[in-house]
């Protein structure tokens, strides 16, 4: 190789993904595919009632059923099952109730596990569930947050229905509201959602002696390993956790679940490998749900539209128990209500409430979609109140691109952004002025199909997270990420990442980063993840953190490899390390580029190790752990045009334009895919999805026939584009993209619907905006 061979940069290329080869050919390794000699199957009996005392559980008939190996109740496991962990005690006086993986005497939501059958195959296990007799004494369900907090409400837990109150304020909120020319007050309901990753959860656990391997469809193999060790007392070094191919997560697999703990305990009891795979209808009951908040938001503004103050009072439904990060989810939103806007004062209060429903926890966006929805809805309403164009109102208040870095009223320092550029680009792609004109004409003509335009100029915080900030927020772990680079003797590279992927394309994106950092071909890099024996350190994948934290750890580890290689190359070339310069995968002598060694040659030299410089260890392998200094703040402008049929309430999305600024892009194909999928999930909240309970606390949307995940026929094509304002807080300039679309799109869609109907006296439509709800809102508007 000569010095002239300059490799094209990999970062920025639209590389088709490496992981696809197994995914498009059916060679994927889902947890449920795993077969082991002697494997037996677990099925769980779940409470049909929302709230009840267990008075009797008789398993004798089930034990006699064909193929049944064992049956367990909560009483059988009470001494060893511990309590499922909550890692985020957000206040010193938070109520964290005991949460046994299998209910012992009381059930607090429909779907809670009350017994387990272990049988030779899954059909036999399911059959035997029917032979278990459980008697319950019904207790009153607690379903409504406001009623739950009222005096005299039935209690979900002994300690009451309030888990915590978390306040934040900055600036003089009373002064901001006093004599404000405009004050708006709104209440929004974030309906309960079911994350609905397409792969149902599954666990396989194999004991060998006193050591255990646990495969799980999880986002967090590393966190899971630590937590399983703490909950069960199995020493951490005797526990290996593997997340094989995982079919989507969206937060739902960011959890330490009852089923994982129980599979481990049952495998230990039986001394043989066990498997559990959930059905979709079981999952809808038992996988943690998302959102479910009541948001009271007040905003004070000047007559010119300048924001003075913002006051948010939040009720957040925890469900029956606090799971891994349940209480922290609404607090992630606390820093985002002020969004991209400047204001004088901000006050936030969140009350965590227990109800007899499935626990809630992280779901794509976790706290930020809720906050963004409320502020962006209010901005549109405020514009209407003031008779201003809603984009002009935003522009009056947003942080100008010349003002970064900017410390917001919520105390975060936004490092970079350019809201003007993203908005200008979106406006043009959308044909904003033409559509506004058409909407006005149709309204004036009394067209029964109205056109509305919805806006969302969002930002979010990702790259979770600087460990020191997590500490201030009482989170139980750090926010760093780990990577290691292993140089093989033939010059190939293994890149080990602690961030375990489940659809995000790490194997491809990390290969691109390593290719650039080490000057090796993209094809020569293999990315390893998701197995605590292969990748022993990690904080896993959530909160759009993989690239902004994990990707930077990869960069740092590559830097260490290069520095080790430099010393060895200097020895081989008999020059001083200071005389060498790095060029496209090669250390070469400055001023004499023909003299050099490629990284592959140096790797081979360390393998032989015959003539390395004195005292130099024969290895290039390097580790790095990266803890970010700050979050990153992607932003963008999403515009939605919706046609609303005022006679039927049907909503048709006519066009959707998204201009996102996620900083530098490693792989535009992957970024665009994330944006598409994110928008779709946000639209799903706006129009289709709701986890609904009846008055007895039974989930009535337990199947995909009732819980309406949209299909291709339900969604439009999206127009996407990007502006690129690099993050200044990491060496790649990246910001994260996994949640942006979901955060942005829900308010854009609902704003469009309300914009279409505002002339008809409709101030709001509750989500999901089904035809029936839209139709009702129109009738109520007419009656006003």
């Amino acid at each position: 190789m000569t010095a002239e061979t300059v490799q094209e940069k990999e970062v920025g290329r639209a590389r088709a993904r490496k992981e696809d080869a197994r995914l498009v050919t059916g060679q994927t390794n889902w947890t449920d595919n795993i077969q082991l000699p002697g494997l037996v199957h677990i099925a769980f009996l779940r409470s049909p009632l929302a709230h009840a005392r267990i008075t009797r559980a008789d398993t004798s008939r089930a034990r006699e059923a064909t193929g049944v190996i064992a049956v367990f109740t909560g009483a059988d496991l009470a001494a060893e099952q511990g309590s499922l962990p909550c890692a985020w005690p957000v206040t010193p006086d938070i109520v964290i109730p005991q949460h046994p993986p299998m209910a012992v005497d009381t059930v607090r939501y429909a779907g809670e596990i009350v017994a387990a059958v272990v049988a030779r195959d899954r059909y036999a296990a399911a059959d035997a569930l029917e032979a278990i007799d459980v008697d319950y004494e019904e207790l009153p369900p607690v379903l409504d947050m406001e009623e739950a907090l009222a005096e005299g409400s039935p209690k979900v837990h002994e300690q009451g229905n309030k888990s915590f109150v978390w306040p934040f304020s900055n600036g003089d909120i009373e002064a901001a509201f006093r004599d404000a020319p405009v004050v708006l007050e709104r209440t929004y309901r974030q309906q309960r959602l079911i994350p609905s990753a397409m792969e149902p959860r599954a666990v396989v656990c194999a004991p060998v002696g006193d050591e255990f391997t646990l495969w799980s469809a999880t986002q967090i193999p590393h966190v899971l390993r630590v937590m399983l060790a703490l909950v069960t007392g199995i020493p951490e070094h005797k526990l290996r956790v593997i997340a094989p191919d995982v079919g989507g997560g969206f937060g739902s697999k960011l959890q330490v679940t009852a089923e994982e703990v129980l599979a481990l305990l049952i495998a230990r009891r039986l001394g043989r490998p066990v498997k559990w795979t959930e059905s979709r209808s079981e999952g809808n009951l038992a996988v943690h749900h998302g959102r479910d908040q009541i948001q009271r938001i007040r905003v004070a503004a000047g007559a010119d539209g300048r924001l003075r103050g913002l006051d948010v009072d939040l009720l957040a439904d925890m469900g029956a128990y606090l799971m891994l990060v349940t209480p922290g989810v609404p607090l992630l939103g606390a820093f985002m209500y002020n969004a991209i806007y400047k204001m004088d004062a901000y006050s936030f209060r969140c009350t965590g409430v227990f109800t007899t429903k499935t626990p809630t926890d992280a779901y794509r966006g976790a706290g930020r979609p809720e906050a963004t929805f409320a502020i962006e809805r209010v901005m549109d309403d405020l514009a209407a109140e003031l008779g201003m164009d809603p984009l002009a109102l935003r522009e009056r208040n947003w942080i100008k691109h010349t003002e970064f870095p900017y410390t917001t009223i919520a105390g975060l320092t936004y490092d970079s952004g350019n809201y003007e550029a993203a908005t200008a680009a979106a406006r043009e792609l959308f044909h904003y002025d033409e559509l506004r004109k058409e909407a006005a004409e149709r309204a004036a003509a009394g067209d029964p199909v109205r056109l509305g335009i919805g806006i969302s100029t969002f930002t979010e915080m990702c790259g979770l997270a600087p460990s020191r900030i997590l500490g201030q927020l009482a989170y139980g772990a750090g926010g760093w990420e780990h990577a290691s680079i292993r140089m093989l003797p033939t010059g190939k590279v293994e890149a080990v990442t602690g961030s375990s992927a489940h659809g995000q394309g790490h194997e491809t994106a990390w290969s691109q980063i390593v290719a650039d950092e080490l000057g090796v071909p993209f094809e020569d890099v293999r990315v390893l993840h998701g197995d605590t024996f292969v990748a022993p350190k990690g904080m896993d994948t959530y909160g759009s953190r993989s690239l902004t934290v994990g990707g930077i750890a990869v960069v740092a580890a590559c830097g260490k490899v290069r520095e080790k290689a430099r010393v060895i190359a200097a020895g081989l070339l008999e020059v001083s390390p200071d005389d060498l310069e790095w060029s496209s995968g090669r250390w070469q002598v400055r001023g004499d580029p023909d003299q050099g060694k490629t990284i592959g040659e140096i790797a081979l030299a360390t393998f032989a190790a015959h003539n390395l410089p004195e005292g130099v260890e024969p290895s290039l392998d390097s580790d790095a752990t990266y803890d970010p200094d700050n979050f990153s703040f992607p932003h963008g402008t999403h515009l939605c045009a919706a046609e609303v049929d005022t006679e039927t309430g049907a909503v048709r999305l006519r066009s959707y334009v998204a201009v996102d600024d996620v900083g530098q892009v490693v792989n535009p194909l992957i970024v665009e895919g994330q944006v598409h999928g994110g928008i779709a999930q946000g639209i799903a909240q706006a129009l289709f999805e709701e986890a609904a309970y009846d008055s007895s606390g039974t989930l009535v949307t337990a199947t995909l026939a009732d819980y309406l995940v949209p299909s291709a026929a339900d969604l439009p094509a999206f127009v996407t584009s990007r502006t690129a304002t690099p993050s200044t807080t990491n060496p790649l300039g990246v910001k994260g993209v996994g949640e942006a679309g979901t955060i942005a799109s829900t308010p854009a869609v609902v704003n469009a619907i309300v914009d279409a109907l505002r002339p008809l006296g409709v101030p709001d439509v509750p989500m999901p905006c089904t035809p029936e709800r839209v139709w009702r809102a129109i009738r109520e508007g007419a009656a006003r």
């Binding site: 088709a16 993904r17 992981e19 696809d20 080869a21 197994r22 995914l23 498009v24 050919t25 059916g26 060679q27 994927t28 889902w30 449920d32 595919n33 077969q35 195959d121 899954r122 059909y123 609905s196 990753a197 397409m198 792969e199 149902p200 191919d245 995982v246 079919g247 989507g248 969206f250 059905s279 979709r280 209808s281 489940h502 659809g503 995000q504 394309g505 194909l669 992957i670 665009e672 895919g673 994330q674 598409h676 999928g677 994110g678 928008i679 779709a680 999930q681 199947t703 995909l704 026939a705 995940v709 299909s711 291709a712 026929a713 969604l715 094509a717 999206f718 679309g741």
Partner: protein, 161 residues
């Protein structure tokens, strides 16, 4: 127990099965063809879609005994030496993320194109209505299917000239 005999991805299988055994469980657990996953229990998601005698079916809504004598093609039998055009297009158009829906999506798309070789975008969207994807927002899936339709039309035009 009932005896079933079927050809799966070109290989003949003979087994005694419980009459209630679903075809998808037969494929996955008896025949060891785990390329076809299960995503629901109400025939809504389409993850389990395979071709039965050339026509797409949701293999969770067919009993193994109903497939007796049938020719089954799964995602694992689609490539013929080289990837099927749909596999290639899904890869190149980035029509998958986690990939859980992908086997079913590709099999459903194969059937859709057999039925309607020149679909419009809306026809692709409507034709794939029974297959849910939580990751992609469908845009690139639609693009991949339209691309293959275009390629097939191009080949036909080429062959005719």
């Amino acid at each position: 127990m009932n005896h079933v005999s079927m050809r799966i991805d070109g290989v003949r299988y003979d087994d005694d099965v419980e009459p209630r055994l679903l075809l998808v469980h037969y494929l996955r657990e008896v025949a060891g063809r785990t390329g076809t996953p299960v995503g629901c229990d109400t025939s809504n998601c389409g993850a389990c879609t395979v071709l039965m005698n050339g026509v797409s079916v949701k293999s969770c809504s067919v009993l193994a005994v109903q497939a007796d004598g049938a020719e089954i093609t799964t995602i694992q039998g689609l490539a013929n030496g080289e990837w099927h055009p749909l596999q290639r297009a899904f890869h190149e158009e980035h029509a998958l993320q986690c990939g859980y829906c992908t086997p079913g999506m590709i099999m459903a798309a194969a059937d859709l194109l057999r039925d309607n070789p020149r679909p419009s975008e809306q026809e692709v969207r409507d034709g794939l209505e029974g297959n849910l994807c939580r990751c992609t927002g469908y845009q690139n899936i639609v693009r991949a299917v339209l691309r293959v339709a275009g390629e097939m039309a191009g080949e036909q035009a080429g062959a005719a000239s």
